[in-house]
Symmetry: C2
Subunit: 174 residues, 2 copies
Amino acid sequence: MVMQLAEAKAQFIANWGRFGTNWGINRTMAQIHALLLVSADPLSAEDVMEQLSISRGNANMNIRELIDWGLVQKVLFAGERKEFFTAEKDIWKVARQIIKERKKRELDLMLPVLDELSHVEGDKKDKNVKTFTDTIQNIRKFSSQADKVLDTMIKADEHWFIGNLVKMFSGKKD
Amino acid sequence: MVMQLAEAKAQFIANWGRFGTNWGINRTMAQIHALLLVSADPLSAEDVMEQLSISRGNANMNIRELIDWGLVQKVLFAGERKEFFTAEKDIWKVARQIIKERKKRELDLMLPVLDELSHVEGDKKDKNVKTFTDTIQNIRKFSSQADKVLDTMIKADEHWFIGNLVKMFSGKKD
DNA sequence: ATAAACTTTCAAATAATTCTGAAAATTCAG
DNA sequence: CTGAATTTTCAGAATTATTTGAAAGTTTAT
């Protein structure tokens, strides 16, 4: 079955919105992002309000949030008073930006907490103490490995990264 | 500063819970998971209710959800009528299980939608049509690459996987 | 079969999040 | 400056998500 652009766009926006809620992002923010991803030209706040049937305040706040995340940019046109907004369309760049921000907001906050928690006072023979310290260590090790891998991804060029993964995954157990 | 076990445990549970909400998981579910992660022995529903000050219904529903996710198992003791629960403590296994489930619940649902959306009717010269189809294609390509990488991770053994990543990231631009 | 022990369900209550829209603030052309 | 155009703010409303707890359901020992 073949769709018209308007219907396909609506579908994409709805799905991207639903998807977003699984990632701690609110539905509207994800929908605005989706709308900008598939719009050829920058849109004004009014365009966004109309196309998604949302209020001015809501549009404003969520656009600001998208700008904070580095996923959307302001665009100004000569002679136009209004601000317009556009989204980065290269998905590899989008993914890297999201990884970068989430790492900053989550992993970088979690690591010091784990360090703190690894100094627990108590009898090493107590199995509850042992389980606690072992689990925290385990998480700490995992997290700092993830930290390194993510840092590399953030800096990586798409082709280099994907090329390496292909090499890695096609070579079986080498 | 050195903490007592009880305090450290409370801190860990609180942080893991806060963390979870960024991942589309509700706070209580993440807290129960945290509690089980640092408990040496399996806990009963009552233990969970008491230690987290939550109701029976809440404990029951969230434990079931954790079981659905494959992160928690029921444990029965001979002669005991009550059910007990325990969590997998190896974080690499936990991460793989989460990847597996999220892939099933998200990526596997998204891919067919993207396929559907890639058949848009319309003038190829229309830049809105072009932007739409290009963006969808871009996302599709990215998603199916991610799909392959995640499948490999799900099957991978920790040492093989980490070993390869280290090789990949220490070799610079080879 | 009975009943105690335990688990599950789910309607209603509560809490958390998101959204609205009008007012305040800002910007800028004239 | 002035005031029209535009953006930002935020208290209250609306919506959505989570939690409670009592009743219903299930299991098992006797």
